[in-house]
Symmetry: C2
Subunit: 220 residues, 2 copies
């Protein structure tokens, strides 16, 4: 009971801070994507592919959330992209306050900020950070039933990337069932099938991202 009583104010004050972050991002005129997935679904590899597709034409920043360590930040920085690290210690998700703490470190202008959340399908979905939208990654070895089991994330995510399509021949993954499960939670979800290992599918996804960034620039 105690827990429920406290969780609400925490979420309310998080939402308020998320709106303040949002105002800062709006002044930067950049698109901010909150990337959420299970551990090992391929968040970092998806980001690497996006960076490699787009870094010649767009200014990209990655905000990297991990409980501990900087393995992914180092791998991303090696591509020449700017990276800011958040270590959450015991927290299983990023929230608006942790995100706010790194905002003063952002000195340049960016077109696209990719936020890699902590690997977890549950809590990261509950905490807004000021993003334009949530992007969920579902990797094929996890199984096609995940949208039914972890409905909140798939309900909220505007875009879902189905990653590790290269493993499909070796798995009992039913793509139609996965798509049906995602659309059941969010009929408007945009779904992209990719392989971060082979690069397949990223051309289409990055074209989509470019349109979003360009539309945002015109709007501002």
């Amino acid at each position: 009971m105690k827990k429920v009583k406290v969780l609400k104010p925490v979420l309310v004050s998080n939402q308020q801070r998320a709106r303040e972050n949002r105002n800062i991002f709006d002044r930067m005129k950049c698109l901010v994507i909150n990337i959420i997935a299970s551990p090992g679904a391929g968040k970092t590899s998806v980001i690497k592919n996006i960076v490699q597709c787009m870094q010649r034409r767009y200014r990209i920043l990655v905000i990297e959330g991990d409980i501990k360590g900087q393995i992914d930040s180092q791998a991303l920085a090696a591509l020449g992209v700017d990276v800011v690290q958040i270590n959450t210690a015991t927290e299983c998700h990023l929230d608006a306050f942790m995100t706010a703490q790194v905002l003063p470190q952002i000195e340049k202008k960016y077109d696209l900020i990719l936020v890699e959340n902590v690997g977890n399908l549950v809590c990261p979905a509950e905490f807004e950070i000021g993003e334009d939208y949530k992007l969920a990654i579902l990797s094929t070895p996890e199984g096609d039933d995940k949208p039914l089991k972890y409905p909140l994330l798939f309900h909220l995510a505007k875009v879902v990337i189905i990653n590790k399509s290269d493993l499909l021949p070796y798995l009992d993954f039913d793509m139609q069932a996965a798509r049906k499960g995602i659309k059941g939670e969010n009929p408007k979800a945009l779904i992209f099938e990719v392989s971060a290992k082979t690069g397949r599918g990223f051309e289409e996804f990055c074209r989509h991202l470019e349109k979003e960034i360009d539309a945002r620039k015109k709007k501002n």
Copy 2:
């Protein structure tokens, strides 16, 4: 800050309730394993293999934790094993109180209780439920670096199952690095490599479980 102030009493009172659960399990003279892994790492498939190996000689109960739905419970019940479902609604983990709520439903004697926690590598590790020990499952498609990124679970787990060994030929998974990462967190961890798809490795693991169950019976 508010959150931290409240989390401690919650954890303390959880620990107390876990001890009470433990007393009840002790009176039942059964081995209780808290199974923790990412979404899609193969918790249910591992449990299926254990049930199929052992249900002729041992009385087994599965306590099934999911945010929503009963997909896994139904699949397990179809094997003829007793299953009790806990739906956590928004909670990303089982705790001792949720577990306590299902104890009155346990009317028979069991040798082994397998608890399938919610798919999450972070919070389930923080909440004891009265188990003998935690068993972590790491699936090969998640990558060999997960023990470094989610250290608490691998620090606490007495047994680690590395699942989906059938996919190794198609992945960049370094088994030695994974073992080193696990042993770095817990030098005493017992590690078993299995494939829940092909059944490989379960004979050895179930022999180990049988020894543990028999030792517990002799002790009581």
